[in-house]
Subunit: 373 residues, 2 copies
């Protein structure tokens, strides 16, 4: 295991194909530098009279014009709607801004939506596309590390409900994912760290060697070494493609991608959406889930400090907010993986292998006591 090579050949455009259940067309994830300025990235997309770019007030000044330039080559009308930025706006009111624009412009059933932004924009645009006229095509153009390695891939779309994160949504696949690594140059450091939480996630649940690689290359990624980031994005997408290809609708295996998310969603909902970034909550949630894996005897004791150290090095919080164990438990009981009121946690069963497990409330309370401020 060596640190990522500095050869620029490693950041030539890569394509990770996503295969889907029978009866559905798969799609490609394009990963590379400068993709946003290359016509080739947009060739072969669904034909239509119009395209609508959905973005937010933070991302649009950086990339909107460039995307518009590319799309104008293919669509007679290219419109844009900008949503307010942040998890606290991942709701019906914001979604409705997209529908209002689509209907005001009499956009038809072939109109293609483009999600230009991070995870919130991607999830909302995908859901808008799933629902408008019962389904129009959409393309993910993720501009954050978190969206490039995780949320833009695999077709989970959603908005939040005050009582639960991502509770309203659809499984709805994009026509393509265009991950331009150059967009990471302008990413705030806090957002970069949040994205690293999802990168780290893939190691313990699916690929022990990738966990080793992350430990070796974390500093390079934090310093935005493009070669290291390119490899991380590609490897994460490969793992996600492998999982989603087997279980698109989360009947089983796919749930492992939610490692750290049961605790993490409770933090996000409990504090109010937007207080912590999603990746921050997932980072802290992975510390808790790692501890629970150890306490249930699934992993040796040294797994917890290893994970906590890595997550801390990534610039992520390792102590959760003091909501109280009862509140955490109450929030986690409305998690989508819960069944009949029993919380089901994704736990690590061996390096590179995860599964679903129930746990006694008092054990969960001990975990929370150990990892809350």
């Amino acid at each position: 295991m060596t640190a990522a090579t500095t050869s620029l050949s490693a950041i030539k455009p890569q394509i990770v194909p996503i295969a889907l259940d029978e009866g559905q067309r798969g799609y490609d994830i394009l990963i590379g530098a400068g993709l946003l300025d290359q016509s080739a990235s947009f060739e072969g997309l669904p034909k239509a009279a119009a395209a609508l770019i959905v973005s937010n007030e933070t991302v649009a000044p950086l990339f909107l014009q460039r995307l518009q330039t590319q799309l104008a080559k293919q669509y007679a009308r290219v419109d844009a709607v900008l949503l307010p930025d942040g998890e606290q706006f991942k709701d019906w009111a914001s979604l409705n801004l997209v529908f209002d624009r689509l209907l005001e412009t009499a956009s038809d059933r072939k109109t293609v939506l483009f999600a230009l932004g991070g995870g919130v924009i991607g999830d909302m645009t995908g859901f808008a596309a799933a629902v408008y006229m019962r389904g129009v095509p959409f393309v993910q153009v993720p501009t954050t590390l978190l969206a490039q390695v995780d949320s833009s891939v695999g077709g989970k779309t959603a908005i939040n409900h005050p009582l639960g994160k991502n509770m309203l949504g659809a499984f709805y696949q994009p026509a393509r994912v265009i991950a331009d690594l150059d967009s990471l140059d302008s990413l705030p450091q806090r957002e970069l760290s949040a994205g690293l939480a999802e990168v780290i996630k893939y190691g313990p649940i699916a690929d022990a060697a990738f966990l080793d690689w992350i430990e070796l290359n974390l500093d390079a990624m934090l310093a935005r070494d493009k070669v290291a980031l390119a490899y991380a994005v590609k490897r994460c997408c490969e793992i996600k493609a492998w999982v989603v290809g087997q279980d698109e609708r989360e009947q089983g295996l796919r749930a492992i991608l939610n490692f750290g998310h049961t605790f993490g969603h409770a933090i996000e909902t409990g504090l109010g959406y937007g207080a912590w970034l999603h990746g921050e909550a997932v980072g802290c949630g992975m510390v808790m889930a790692s501890d629970l894996s150890v306490r249930l005897g699934l992993m040796p004791a040294e797994f917890l400090p290893r994970m906590r150290s890595l997550i801390e090095r990534a610039g992520l919080p390792v102590l959760g907010p003091a909501l109280g164990a009862q509140r955490y438990l109450e929030l986690m009981r409305v998690d989508k993986k819960a069944e009949g009121g029993a919380i089901r946690f994704v736990l690590v069963e061996g390096l590179g292998k995860a599964g679903m497990h129930a746990a006694p409330d008092d054990l969960v309370a001990q975990v929370l006591a150990s990892h809350c401020a």
Copy 2:
């Protein structure tokens, strides 16, 4: 061709199976008298800890307790949420009442929703089921003629947007449709007529012999002859099953089921949702679409008076509201079947056969001038 037999054997429970695209399970439509009070109607439904009945303030006093009694045999918790009654409440605010209840009771991903009511309740419950936790099972228990012959079958779900009818929704199939003919006994006459509009629809688009049958048996249906209604519900469901089985997601053929709906949706949206019943708008819309079929030379002149007479006999309006041709055209340009701003009408091409056609605006304006108050 004779009037419906009065033999009671004709109203023994009937099953119409719906076959779906590969990779999806089909489902059954149960049609019969007294189904709501028979345990057999509910056997084999998806297992879950809880069921939620969605109904409205008008329907619940008539049937809710009976459905609760049946469901209590299968689900440990049976809850109900009542929405306000009417097309004007087919919106996000009402839908959110369902989500609030589901989350307040920490309902999990296996919870089964039951739609108890007419088309509005069925469309909204189906959409809620499609979206809650990205999809939970649901069952249609249609209590109006319109819902039994059309809207509860085939998996189109939606809510309205102020700028367009059924603009936000999903294709999402129920686990079963339970059409109890006894529920038609208490249906207001205006609702019965509205349902007959959708019954009449199936004749000209798919089955010339059924059109003859409807003309012969219309008075019996208006008098609520159970044998005639049983046959009508069954035949409509058979035709719809045949169409949906070939084109679940309305890539082509399925659009014929929208005969009269392009004009009809414009009436509903233009007057404000709820002013006319959906079936009333469709009835009047079929008069307009029949005239357009004649004016485009697709049908002989006598087709228009035949359709108008039948629709009028059913107790439906045959003159549309005077919105003005420009407003009609503007409203129809946001119809889901429109493409690139061109309205596409479902027109009759021969008795029992329909297809999609464009039409010059001035011809459409002539049709509107002939059939508006």
